[in-house]
């Protein structure tokens, strides 16, 4: 893959990298015919972001890096810490950089970033990459009952009232108002924290659709990067979500790029059905990793074996690092020891919170998944896109520079 970004677009690309750095520690580059997709996911798999730059964004965009043995484009995984410093100071990029060339050098396992700057200076960075399967999630926005569209400025004004350190916020939507309030986990500090709440009228939004009244709680920190990107480009942001527990998707698009951030939301334990008692302890068993939990864990591991091929970081373990989101799910219930029978039942009908979030974004498309009872029973909230497009690609190889 070889592409050249010119002028102001370098700054836009840098801003996208900044937004992605808020999400995860690794960056996936996926050159495709329809454009270059740059993605990231957080370690708990509860947040995912994707920026897709169409070929029109680039001054020149060509796939194929000249190496004959590869059947298709190479999908790379880079460490965020090595990419972010290249784009750290956006004002100096705007002033000094004329164009930026990104190419993938397969024999050396390097992604090469070359910045052609003023005064004839060229800066070349060779970053090592790991070849990786595509990381991708497709979120069925059109199936979401609730949808909002607002100018980025409005959303920026909304989140401005919350301190930068605020982790999670709760968004409540009903036909009359939209409410935002900050959210703190159960804890002894709760009494001393400052609570902020704001409420807006539907008229303030460009588009306001309420299918189901819902309260969703998600991580604000991970969203701020996209909001800042949208504000700097003056793009409207569309928000799609459903009931608590289903993921929420924030998306922006314009002629040459599309960006989306998908965040997991807290399952609202009060509103779930009678299987609550069986449901809640299961995540606890996972989290504590105690012996009683292992049989369940290994079942899930098989179910996710295909998933783990997609995401190198989730090596067979259904466990994720408990984030604030996860802890909330178990906080109100007492972590009892479960009998194996209970766990078996729980996995079939209820959706244990940890596995809900795990299956939230990704599902393998490998055929063996259907054979495994566990995996097929877990709800899939967002599917990976088809891999067909990879095999359909037919491109001529151009010599690399």
């Amino acid at each position: 893959m070889n592409c050249v970004i010119e002028g102001n677009c370098v700054k836009a690309f840098g801003k996208a990298i900044h937004a992605l750095s808020r999400i995860g520690d690794e960056l996936w580059l996926d050159p495709m015919v329809k454009g270059l997709a740059v993605r990231s996911v957080n370690s708990a798999h509860s947040a995912y972001a994707c920026f897709l730059f169409s070929p029109l964004f680039f001054q020149r965009y060509s796939l194929g890096s000249g190496s004959e043995q590869d059947s298709g484009t190479v999908k790379c995984k880079l460490v965020m810490k090595s990419v972010l410093p290249l784009f750290r100071c956006l004002t100096s990029i705007e002033r000094n950089v004329d164009r930026c060339q990104i190419s993938i050098n397969i024999p050396d396992d390097r992604v090469v970033f070359q910045f052609f700057c003023r005064h004839g200076i060229t800066k070349t960075y060779n970053l090592g990459f790991q070849e990786s399967e595509a990381l991708q999630a497709v979120f069925a926005s059109h199936l979401c009952p609730n949808a909002l569209k607002a100018q980025a400025r409005l959303l920026g004004d909304m989140v401005m009232h919350f301190p930068v350190s605020q982790e999670e916020i709760t968004l409540s939507m009903n036909p009359l108002r939209l409410n935002l309030r900050n959210y703190y986990e159960e804890g002894n500090d709760q009494m001393k924290m400052m609570y902020t709440e704001m409420s807006l009228h539907p008229d303030e939004f460009d588009y306001f659709q309420v299918g189901v009244d819902s309260d969703i709680t998600f991580c604000l920190k991970e969203l701020r990067g996209l909001l800042s990107f949208a504000e700097s480009h003056g793009l409207p942001v569309s928000v799609h979500f459903g009931a608590a527990g289903k993921p929420v998707c924030f998306a922006v698009e314009d002629m040459v790029l599309e960006a989306s951030v998908v965040l997991a939301t807290l399952t609202d334990s009060e509103s779930s059905g009678p299987s609550q008692a069986a449901e809640a302890p299961v995540p606890t068993a996972h989290r504590c990793g105690d012996a009683a939990g292992l049989p369940e864990a290994s079942c899930e591991a098989e179910g996710f074996a295909a998933v783990t091929e997609l995401i190198a970081s989730s090596q067979g373990s259904p466990m994720m690092n408990p984030t604030g989101l996860m802890r909330r799910l178990t906080g109100t219930q007492e972590p009892d020891r479960l009998s194996v029978a209970d766990k078996g039942r729980a996995s079939t009908f209820t959706t244990p919170a940890s596995s809900t979030i795990c299956s939230l974004l990704f599902r393998a498309l490998s055929p063996e998944q259907g054979e495994d009872g566990c995996a097929s029973l877990l709800p899939v909230l967002a599917c990976s896109s088809d891999v067909e497009e990879d095999t359909e690609e037919d491109f001529t190889r151009s010599p690399s520079l």
Binding site: M194, T196, S199, H201
Partner: protein, 237 residues
């Protein structure tokens, strides 16, 4: 105990926010005393050990359009609260363009100072933002600590030069030492570091607009002597 107040004027809101922000830079918590006519922000620190002590009186009529206060009881018609000025400052800063800001004492999960603002929007219906700041109510038996401090008998009274000029100098002296020496003769000298007492004068009342006056001694015959040593860290807020 009841407290409700409303600010409508943007200038007043701005001014009040600046006062609270200044206080938030001095201390993490302070006492807010509410009386029928005034608000006091009090911090009783230990001045002898280089601590900061502060007593700030604001006339409520200068800021609030509406003000209702009912104290603990009829004889003690006051409310004393321990607040975190930083929270209050943050709450006020985000609503600087509000149409109206109401501050009230409420009880949510704990006693709270609620700042509720109505923000203007393009549509006819305004946006409402509410901040709940937890506060502690201070019992009557401790109120004696927060009375107005009495001013000690002073030897010298000084009209200072413009604070901006002083701030510039003090900021630079912060790098030299933790303590600042101020001396008065016919001009004002400030120095920091070893040998500060003999530093050359840097400010003269004639060239700036400061002057000095003395209530008890003849300034021409008295030699220069250090009259104040203050810590550089607290003084430049």
């Amino acid at each position: 105990m009841k407290f409700r107040a409303k600010i409508i004027d943007i200038g007043c809101l701005n001014h009040f926010t600046r006062v609270v922000t200044t206080i938030s830079k001095l201390t993490k918590t302070c006492v807010l005393r509410l009386t029928a006519d005034n608000l006091f922000f009090v911090l009783s620190g230990k001045v002898a050990n280089g601590g900061v002590s502060m007593w700030c009186e604001l006339s409520q009529a200068n800021f609030f359009d509406e003000y209702q206060m009912e104290g603990v009881s009829a004889e003690a018609n006051e409310i004393c609260l321990e607040v975190t000025p930083e929270n209050l400052s943050r709450a006020l800063k985000t609503v600087q363009n509000a149409k109206a800001v109401k501050v009230k004492l409420t009880r949510k999960h704990c006693p709270c100072l609620t700042v509720a603002a109505e923000l203007p929007t393009l549509s006819s219906i305004s946006r409402v933002v509410t901040h709940d700041l937890p506060v502690d109510v201070i019992p009557r038996r401790l109120w004696a600590e927060f009375k107005e401090p009495s001013m000690p008998d002073f030897d010298v009274s000084i009209y200072l030069p413009p604070l901006k000029t002083m701030k510039n100098v003090v900021d630079r002296m912060k790098n030299l030492s933790n303590f600042l020496v101020m001396m008065m003769t016919m001009d004002l000298r400030m120095g920091a570091g070893p040998g500060a007492e003999t530093q050359t004068p840097w400010l003269r009342p004639g060239s700036t607009s400061g002057s000095c006056s003395s209530s008890s001694w003849d300034s021409r015959s008295t030699p220069a002597r250090p009259c104040a040593i203050s810590s550089t860290t607290g003084s430049s807020t």
